[in-house]
């Protein structure tokens, strides 16, 4: 009997009547088996170097000690780099003296936006109102600068389950802001190679087990006995804290039996979707590795929400030579994720949101770096069922300051409102179909009438 089937048989026999605290908050098929990924550009990226381009505007020439004639960027926008109303950045020569590097980074930008622009919403002019990494990350990814709100992907994982079996790693974190608010367990997967071992605890090889079967499956017998013991412990434990811990363990142990389902899609990706073919060898491999596991976990119905994380965007010094290349690698990683999801047939069910702590100054400091700036952008890549991509919502001034935005058009308007991460999260919750869920209401974000996703 497969472990998954075995666990289901235990559940069917009534042993799993005591619902664990965490899994009780999952809702089978609530939104039809959808997935969500938060891609975090750690450190605070520079939207003006990506999707809210300003160019050589000289806007800050009056500030002492500022390099580059007070320009926001060292290159002007190229009108041809546009899909719909999404304009992306050109690559300045200051990125590298090596022509091959410039060509590579430019190709990464161009391929990313031309490949995904039609299914993408760019959200510009998001005002985080902070220059603090912790506050900014929390606000961007939870919609509330309060510590008590879970990350969007965690909330999503807790409210949506593509399977009737509890997800053993419903929320898979690779770093970045990953607070769960205790609505879902957070799983980390640093060591992909270890999965084959832990997914089948009793297996030595394909033909041999540590505990050989006797007259029956001995391991299954022990597992069943251990779950029964756990139930006795739960019912007799007087201390509330311990009782909760035991219930959590009972829940995740029941679900952990599914882990071996990961191996097949993971192996398929490893064999058929190589890092170097999508797009460039040695570019964004860390992110690609994270993406590979996330895609496989989604396909195996083990996870519903995940974070991908790459750090290094905190470019206080030598901004251009770091920020553009890093963004290029980020695009490589996201592309790999999309290809992997596509290969596994779940791309159309997955929403990918890319964001960062906050933005960076629209001018350069004395070290040619850029410091913290509260305005930022986010990118959302939709599944195939979303048809109105190629859209930019929100705006900033020519010197990259905040603007009031018309909630319907997303354009600047004197009668509009400042767009903040709370609004964006509210709209993302609607997009993901979880805004009316009781957990979403428990961790509420401000009411929003910003029509970001039409």
């Amino acid at each position: 009997m497969k472990r998954r089937d075995f666990i289901r048989s235990i559940a069917a026999s009534g042993l799993a009547l005591n619902l664990p605290l965490l899994s009780g908050q999952s809702h089978a098929d609530a939104v039809g088996g959808r997935y969500m990924v938060m891609v975090n550009a750690g450190g605070g990226w520079d939207p003006t170097s990506i999707c809210d381009v300003k160019g050589t505007n000289g806007a800050y020439g009056h500030r002492q000690g500022v390099l580059n004639q007070g320009n926001t960027n060292n290159v002007n926008p190229d009108p041809s780099k546009k899909v719909g109303d999404i304009q992306w950045s050109s690559i300045p020569d200051t990125v590298s003296s090596d022509e091959t590097v410039l060509t590579l980074v430019e190709s990464q930008y161009d391929r990313f936006f031309t490949t995904y622009g039609e299914r993408m919403t760019v959200i510009n002019g998001i005002d985080t109102a902070t220059n603090n990494h912790h506050t900014g990350s929390r606000y961007i990814w939870s919609g509330n600068s309060d510590v008590s709100h879970p990350a969007l992907a965690a909330l999503f994982a807790a409210t949506v389950s593509p399977s009737s079996v509890n997800l053993p790693m419903a929320f898979l974190s690779n770093g970045g802001f990953d607070y769960t608010g205790y609505v879902v367990a957070r799983a980390r997967a640093k060591s992909v190679g270890f999965f084959s071992e832990i997914s089948s605890p009793n297996r030595i090889s394909n033909t041999e087990n540590y505990l050989p079967d006797g007259a029956e499956d001995i391991y299954a017998k022990i597992f069943r006995a251990q779950q029964e013991r756990l139930q006795r412990q739960i019912s007799s434990e007087p201390l509330q804290r311990k009782r909760e811990q035991l219930s959590q363990l009972f829940g995740v142990r029941s679900a952990s039996a599914d882990l071996e389902e990961l191996l097949s899609p993971l192996s398929e990706l490893q064999s058929n979707v190589s890092f170097e073919d999508h797009w460039t060898a040695g570019q964004g491999d860390g992110l690609k590795q994270q993406a590979q596991l996330v895609a496989a976990a989604f396909k195996a119905d083990l996870a519903a929400g995940a974070t991908l994380h790459v750090h290094g965007f905190d470019t206080h010094g030598e901004h251009d030579s770091t920020a553009y290349s890093l963004a290029g690698q980020l695009f490589e990683g996201v592309h790999y994720l999309m290809v992997a999801l596509d290969y596994l047939g779940i791309r159309e069910k997955t929403t990918v949101v890319i964001g960062s702590d906050f933005g960076r100054t629209p001018y350069y400091n004395a070290g040619a770096g850029k410091d913290h700036w509260p305005l930022t952008s986010m990118l959302v890549i939709h599944g195939d069922d979303y048809v109105t991509g190629g859209r930019t919502f929100g705006a900033t001034t020519s010197d990259f300051n905040g603007l009031e935005i018309d909630p319907q058009t997303g354009k600047a308007s004197d009668s509009g409102l400042i767009l903040n991460p709370g609004h964006v999260n509210a709209e993302l919750r609607k997009l993901l179909g979880i805004s009316e869920h009781s957990l979403a209401k428990q961790f509420s974000v401000p009411e929003s009438n910003f029509n970001i996703f039409v």
């Binding site: 799983a187 270890f194 041999e208 006995a225 412990q233 004395a366």
Partner: protein, 756 residues
């Protein structure tokens, strides 16, 4: 077994209450502006006004505190009214010291004493009922495993079984004197400092190349060795010797009962032979480092024997590239590993370091100060230097920036270079407040001159003078032992239950802080007080308050490091798969680098790892233990695998059955801390499982060969050594070892093996 029905919390709070009540009442009669309200209570209205205006933004209107300011409820460190008045005058409000002095300070102090140290505690007292604590021998086992990674000695166990509390107290003193405890203590502090990021197991060479070559020309002395094995070993040993510097100071202070204040004031640092070679440091007390009999690193003709665990206090007095006379040490603050772990940039100008100092050493979250968070960015950057002129900014920067300025002689990469306007350590003294702390400027600072030395030493002395320092130390120990954060400071949306729970816990934390101070800052005193407390020893809690109920009891999912220590102690060796940092992170551990928060709620991955651990460890340990001489066994002393529960005819062998059940009883105790009778239900369930599996194997006869053969000795990591066992085990004709292996899988899968 006697159970201690404990009301320690109530007693602690009541003691507090009486002390505060008495002092307040006495002083109020003679000197206060207090008035009597209609309900008969007394309140200092002038103090209330001053408090609401100047204090409430951090300490909250109801005194419960916020993450920016401590709770004033049950305020043990407030002293008496005179002392609190003095503290207010000297240090408050932290962004504008001096604003409230004289009568303002004494009125405010009176108000605080009445409003938050009498009234709220009376409410708290009503909330508290009873906590039933576990037996002393159970506490001893848990404390011993947690603090020293070992089961208690037989002597201690026997003593506790007879004289309970007194013996428990003595036994804990013993545990707190073991080498293993100091390692555990260092682990607790690392969860805050995160300086283990620079260990070789996280990134090879991270510490060596964290030092500047022109300050420390010996940095790459590993190149002096020709043999690659020797060189690699030496490289990692030197690296870790450097990286351990801050945590070795923690261990040194605890081992020698020195005040934990020296963590930020010590005018020395810690070196072993390997790091001393790099730093060229002078030992405070001279002498020679310990030399071991066995080489620490060896290869070819080369070897080194100095004990890497022999750390001693020393000073770096040699000339640095840009500073003659070396470093003026200030405990961990001046170690490269603290400084580069919390780096700065030319535009951050040490504010990151300042924020960390407030958080780690003053238990104060600067980012939570009211006014520091805007609703949007409109108007950000008022004036040329907004951090000095924009009131939205200065509310935090006035507190943070003087401390940031104190770090000005330390560069982005942690080098000591006097701040100036040239390229080596650029510092613009006109765009940031001068160095200082809590309203007090660093003496004789002149922005036109080269900055003076010793600014971090001065900071250290001010930190330990601050009442918050003691609480910050308690917080580190509390979180280290309980594996969870203290209850969050209440805010406007908190329920009364949350506030009450916070007040009770805060009163206890303050009491622990008082214990720390009165014990001459012995960090062990805090550890011991927690171990003896009803909160740690709670077995049953009968409280109305659900929030408080959940916060009581020390049960936690063991960290990978704790689990490895437990395995080594009770099974005999660690699980090899948890030696990898990445696997430990998967299990919920930290790498002190990009993963800095332990997971205390298991995911399915964690559960699967537990199950794999149970199978692998059971397979290896069962046959290995039976192959050892009886006296050397961890699992089955006094039992032989030839002891079957029945004879060849299937007739039960009563003596053997008893011996088998006794072995299970013993395993329940050492694995789980459960004292069960031989005929208890749980033991009968386990025995039946064993019997069933044995019968099943014997009847199906799947093959007698052992999957995990025991032929050689294992080391503490479970790795096979070259030493051959006298009585190797490779087959199991009766299937008894198979059945015991299955029983061990059952036991090693148990929740109580993973939660302590």
């Amino acid at each position: 077994m006697n159970r201690v029905i404990s009301v320690i919390l109530v007693v602690a709070a009541s003691l507090f209450l009486s002390a505060c009540k008495d002092s307040y009442t006495d002083e109020l009669k003679v000197e206060s502006n207090g008035i009597e309200l209609a309900d008969g209570t007394l309140i200092n209205l002038a103090g209330q006004d001053a408090y609401n205006e100047q204090c409430a933004s951090c300490h909250a209107l109801d005194g419960n505190g916020t993450s920016a300011g401590s709770s004033l409820v049950g305020c043990a460190t407030c002293g008496d009214i005179a002392e609190l008045t003095s503290v207010i005058e000297r240090t408050m409000p932290i962004g504008n010291v001096g604003k409230c002095s004289g009568t303002c300070a004494s009125d405010t102090a009176e108000y605080i004493f009445y409003a938050f140290n009498v009234q709220n505690i009376e409410e708290t007292e009503i909330t508290l009922q009873q906590i039933t604590t576990e037996p002393a021998e159970v506490t001893l086992r848990r404390a011993s495993l947690q603090l020293s990674g070992a089961l208690p000695s037989n002597t201690a166990s026997i003593a506790v079984a007879t004289s309970e509390e007194e013996a428990l107290s003595a036994a804990i003193d013993g545990i707190l004197s073991t080498d293993a405890f100091y390692d555990v203590l260092a682990e607790m502090f690392n969860k805050k400092f995160l300086t283990n990021k620079y260990l070789a197991e996280v990134k090879r060479g991270a510490a060596i190349y964290g030092l500047a070559l022109d300050d420390y020309p010996n940095r790459e002395n590993f190149r002096n060795y020709n043999n690659s094995t020797m060189r690699n070993c030496y490289y990692d040993t030197v690296n870790d010797s450097l990286a351990k510097e801050p945590l070795e100071l923690v261990k040194y202070l605890a081992r020698n009962n020195l005040p934990i204040t020296e963590l930020v004031t010590a005018d020395y640092t810690m070196v072993n032979w390997y790091s001393q070679q790099i730093y060229e440091a002078e030992l405070l007390e001279g002498g020679e480092f310990e030399v071991l009999d066995e080489a620490v690193c060896a290869g070819g003709e080369e070897a080194v024997y100095y004990d890497p665990n022999d750390f001693r206090p020393a000073r770096i007095t040699k000339d640095l590239a840009y500073e003659s006379g070396g470093i003026q040490h200030a405990g961990v603050l001046t170690t490269p590993w603290f400084l580069i772990r919390y780096p700065t940039t030319p535009t951050n100008v040490n504010r990151h370091r300042a924020r960390i100092v407030f958080d780690y050493f003053l238990d104060t979250d600067i980012m939570a100060i009211n006014g520091g968070n805007r609703s949007d960015s409109a108007g950000i950057g008022v004036g040329e230097v907004p951090t000095m002129t924009d009131s939205e900014c200065t509310v935090c920067h006035n507190i943070m920036d003087p401390v940031a300025s104190l770090f000005q002689n330390w560069t982005e990469v942690g080098r000591y270079i006097k701040a100036n306007r040239n390229f080596r350590n650029v510092w613009d003294a006109e765009t940031i407040l001068p160095p200082g702390f809590s309203g007090e400027n660093f003496p004789d600072f002149d922005p036109e001159q080269l900055p003076p030395s010793g600014m971090l030493q001065w900071l250290g002395s001010k930190l330990v003078d601050d009442p918050r320092y003691a609480r910050a130390m308690v917080r580190i120990i509390y979180e280290g032992i309980f594996g969870q954060a203290l209850l969050p400071s209440p805010n406007d949306s908190s329920t009364q239950e949350e506030k009450d729970a916070f007040n009770v816990q805060r009163a206890w934390v303050n009491e622990l802080a008082s214990t720390l101070v009165s014990s001459n800052w012995s960090i062990k005193s805090v550890v011991k007080s927690i171990m003896m407390s009803s909160q740690y020893r709670a077995e049953e809690v009968n409280l109305e308050n659900e929030v408080l109920k959940r916060a009581i009891g020390a049960s936690q999912l063991l960290s990978p490091e704790q689990l490895q220590r437990k395995l080594k102690s009770v099974v005999g060796f660690k699980w090899g798969d948890l030696n990898s940092v990445d696997n430990r992170v998967m299990y919920g551990g930290i790498n002190s680098d990009d993963v800095t928060e332990e997971l205390k709620t298991p995911s399915g991955i964690v559960a699967a790892m537990q199950q794999r651990l149970a199978v692998e460890m059971a397979c290896t340990a069962t046959s290995y233990d039976f192959a050892l001489p009886s006296g050397d066994r961890k699992l089955f002393p006094g039992l032989e695998y030839s002891q079957l529960p029945f004879d060849d005819s299937g007739i039960e062998l009563t003596e053997n059955v008893s011996a088998i059940k006794d072995a299970i009883v013993r395993l329940y105790w050492i694995f789980f801390g459960e004292r069960l009778a031989r005929d208890s239900d749980e033991i009968n369930v386990a025995y039946s499982l064993y019997l069933d599996i044995l019968n099943g194997y014997q009847s199906s006869d799947p093959g007698a060969g052992l999957k995990c053969r025991a032929t050689r000795y294992l080391d503490s990591n479970g790795a096979i050594t070259s030493d051959t066992l006298a009585y190797p085990l490779v087959a199991d004709e009766t299937y008894n070892i198979h059945a015991w292996t299955a029983m061990m899988v059952y036991l090693l899968s148990d929740s109580r093996f993973y939660y302590e």
